[in-house]
């Protein structure tokens, strides 16, 4: 009787142990998988982070290019052939090339206003109905980085004159 009872107890204990073992094994497996998944996600996050840092830096360089553009716009016609000015404009070109090589591209401003690409900061009144909603003037260039708008172009938009 006592022997049987002992056996029963051992069996019960074994069963408990088996159960616990299974529980721990599954927990360990899950933890291991979680860690692998975490590493994968962390890898993706690092890539995202690197892109974000790059984007941030590119955004900070853009005002320098804006200033170059404004400077170019302001050159009087008679001075356009000045060799020194031409040299300076070549520096601007270098900067543009650099940005292009980093995956930065200009946003075109020749068509209809689109808030996905442009930011309206003024309007120009015109009688021509055809022109309504079209871009009248580009005030500051907009850019995409790897296909995503990082800075919209600042534009003036045609507004229909109501007589």
């Amino acid at each position: 009787m006592t022997e049987e009872k002992k056996d029963e107890e051992i069996e019960k204990k074994l069963e408990e142990c088996e159960k616990k073992k299974q529980e721990f094994f599954l927990g360990w497996q899950r933890e291991k998988a979680d860690f692998i998944n975490y590493k994968k996600k962390e890898g993706e996050r690092i890539i995202e982070l690197a892109e974000a840092i790059k984007k941030d830096m590119l955004l900070k360089i853009l005002p320098t290019l804006d200033s170059f553009n404004l400077a170019e716009k302001n050159i009087p016609t008679k001075e356009k052939d000045d060799k020194n000015l031409k040299g300076l404009l070549l520096i601007k070109k270098q900067l543009e090339e650099f940005l292009k090589n980093q995956g930065v591209e200009e946003i075109p401003c020749d068509k209809k206003f689109d808030p996905r690409l442009h930011e309206a900061i003024g309007e120009i009144v015109d009688k021509d109905k055809e022109k309504e909603g079209m871009i009248a003037e580009e005030l500051e260039k907009g850019y995409r980085f790897n296909g995503i708008v990082i800075r919209p172009a600042k534009v003036k938009v045609y507004k229909l004159k109501n007589d």
Binding site: Y38, K41, K55, S67, L70, A71, K73, N74, F113, P115, R116, H118, E119, A120, I121, G122, E123, G133, L139, E140, I148, V149, P152, K154, V157, K159
Partner: protein, 625 residues
């Protein structure tokens, strides 16, 4: 396990957060920003746009661009405050049959609830795209002074957007939750919320079961935008004085000024002065005009001091209203982007005489608190432990002090740095320091000090039977392994023979708190002198290995180099040997460099000899052909 969202639905800007890998985190929208303008528009093409896209087209479409709708949610048209606000709007509104407000967008009339729902719909779509799964459970926040009708309306907006709104909680309560206040004991918490356009102060009584709002106060039109405007006005004024031109009439110039002012404000939060440089800002008959001003933090503080004073006065008033004393406030929380300005932080600290809580980004703290609340409620619903608290259940310990071994020159080489989560193991391969060394002693150390003797030795053992070989050749792998109970096993094995020795140290992390603190403090106190000692030893070791290799080179190739150079090197070796015995770091470095340069001459002399000998041979071969 469903993902949740916490939404800080703001008057001007909306932010949202979720729990990712157990950590609350603010999420970016599709445009890549954590800030979504609470603006919605029906474009001229009949397309509905939300957020920054609506903002970009606002000027061309003022009648169909709806903003500040939070000011009207759940309120009556006839409310005098509402009437005052309505006068400032560019879009059309009217009274509904039930006394509420209706807003016209396109040809249709919408309630503020429907407009808010459209904003929340974009958030739902963007967050689902970001997290890669459908979202349902949310907690939305509202100002502490929202009444029942405004709260119900906020909840309804969430439901229309397709969310299951678990709760609408106060913004300051969410901030307190983000910091985990009240989980253990009751606390009086003051939330100082200085946003872009409004200032709010709330005093809370936070306890494990309840969060009670004791008082609220605020300024409806005081915020970070005022700081920007002060900078813009200052620039406009300077420019007018110097150039006689009013830039405020030029939309592009004004836009550039706005951006520059915001940038200057941000930069002055970390730097003491900044440059506002806007070339070609405008032009007149004389040609282009440039703008280049220096703005110091002191100047900015001078021009905005009254704005901060106003907020502090409001705090004082609110505390007085409930007959409290500022000393009774246990915790102060900073909320809103404007609290990133050093002067604002300093004034709050000065006023209360204690450091405010600012470790969580003040722009995200409300959304983060809402996400935590959403996770707690969802976990309860699903009968599980909230994500992020799992760690405390598992009780994974961390190593309180670094573990290492003593290496050549009495240096403590760290194997497992402090704060590493255990169980863990680490291994590294070491070698011998002398020729024909057949045994190595492994001295296991605990502590942060760079010199072995300054740390606690946990035990030593000797690995012998290493086959005789020149120094640096044998490979001895040392492995540290700590199990979940803090039992450390150190095994050293010789890779060539496979022979190994080990030691087991129990209670290696079981130091008393006082002991750990004492050791950490000692490490801090001696950091500078320890660093000097470490450098000295490192340079001595380098010198020694250079002496060793120089002597070996002389022995192997002594007959191939000129007697002069041989003498020069021998002299320098003896100089370095002398310097190495002393404590003068610079001298050791100089003599090492001198010897190293002389050694390089061996190479060039031998190369030169070879080249000299090569040339005639080549010529001979050529002539043969």
């Amino acid at each position: 396990m469903a993902k949740v969202l916490g939404i800080d639905l703001g008057t001007a800007i909306t932010k949202y957060a979720s729990i990712i890998n157990g950590e609350p985190k603010a999420l970016e929208n599709r445009e890549g920003s954590i800030l979504t303008p609470s603006i919605i528009a029906l474009t001229k093409n009949g397309e509905r746009v939300v957020g920054v896209l609506a903002q970009r087209q606002a000027i061309t479409n003022p009648k169909n661009t709806i903003y500040s709708v939070k000011r009207f949610i759940g309120r009556r048209f006839s409310d005098p405050e509402v009437q005052k606000e309505l006068k400032l709007l560019s879009y059309e509104t009217r009274e509904r049959k039930d006394g509420g407000i209706e807003i016209k967008m396109g040809d249709k009339w919408y309630t503020p609830i429907e407009i808010s729902a459209m904003i929340l719909q974009k958030i739902k779509a963007d967050a689902e795209e970001k997290l890669g799964e459908k979202l349902s459970n949310v907690v939305i926040t509202c100002p502490a002074n929202f009444d029942d009708s405004q709260r119900k309306a906020t909840k309804a907006a969430g439901e229309i957007a397709g969310f299951n709104v678990l709760r609408v909680i106060n913004e300051p309560t969410a901030a307190a939750l983000a910091y985990g206040f009240g989980r253990k004991d009751a606390k009086k918490v003051l939330v100082y919320d200085f946003g872009g356009g409004t200032f709010d102060v709330t005093i809370l009584d936070v306890s494990p079961d309840t969060v009670e709002v004791l008082a609220t106060g605020g300024e409806a039109h005081l915020g970070g935008n005022d700081f920007d405007q002060r900078i813009i006005d200052w620039i406009l004024d300077q420019f007018k004085k110097e150039q006689g031109i009013d830039l405020s009439k030029d939309p592009l110039a004004l836009q550039r000024l706005k951006e520059a002012a915001e940038k200057a404000k941000t930069e002055l939060s970390s730097a003491l002065e900044t440059n506002i440089n806007l070339p070609f800002i405008t032009s007149d008959a004389e040609g282009p005009k440039h703008l280049d001003y220096k703005l110091t933090r002191a100047q900015l503080e001078e021009m905005t001091k009254d704005l901060v004073d106003k907020s502090i006065e409001r705090v004082e008033k609110t505390i007085k209203e409930i007959k409290m004393k500022k000393e009774e406030i246990d915790e102060i929380i900073l909320v809103g982007g404007t609290t990133l300005i050093p002067m604002v932080r300093n004034r709050v600290k000065e006023f209360f005489g204690k450091e405010p809580n600012k470790s969580i980004n003040p722009e995200e703290v409300v959304a983060i608190g809402a996400a935590i609340e959403a996770e707690i409620l969802t976990a309860k619903e699903e009968g599980r432990t909230p994500e992020g608290e799992i760690k405390s259940v598992l009780l994974l310990d961390v190593l309180p002090l670094s573990l290492g071994i003593e290496t050549y020159g009495g240096v403590n080489t760290i194997m497992i740095p402090k704060n590493t989560t255990i169980p863990t193991s680490q291994s590294q391969v070491f070698s011998t320091a002398a020729d024909n060394q057949t045994s190595v002693e492994i001295n296991v150390l605990q502590g942060e000090r760079p010199m072995a003797q300054d740390n606690r030795s946990l035990g030593k053992f000797i690995l012998d039977g290493i086959p005789p070989a020149p120094r640096g050749v044998p490979q001895v792998e040392v492995k540290f392994d700590i199990d979940a109970n803090g039992i450390l096993t150190v095994i050293a094995s010789d890779k060539a023979t496979g022979k190994s020795q080990s030691i087991k140290v129990e209670g290696s992390i079981g130091l008393s708190k006082e002991e750990i603190e004492r050791m950490k403090k000692e490490a801090e106190v001696h950091a500078a002198e320890d660093e000097k000692k470490r450098q000295l030893i490192e340079n001595r070791n380098m010198a020694e290995s250079l002496i060793y290799s120089s002597e070996k080179t002389l022995k192997d190739m002594g007959d191939k180099i000129s007697p002069d150079l041989k003498k020069e090197i021998e002299d320098k070796i003896s100089d370095l040997k002398k310097a190495k015995e002393g404590d003068n770091l610079e001298e050791i470095k100089n003599k090492t460099e001198a010897l190293s340069q002389s050694l390089q001459k061996i190479g060039s002399q031998m190369y030169g000899q070879k080249k000299d000998g090569d040339t005639p041979e080549a010529e001979t071969e050529e002539s043969k052909e």
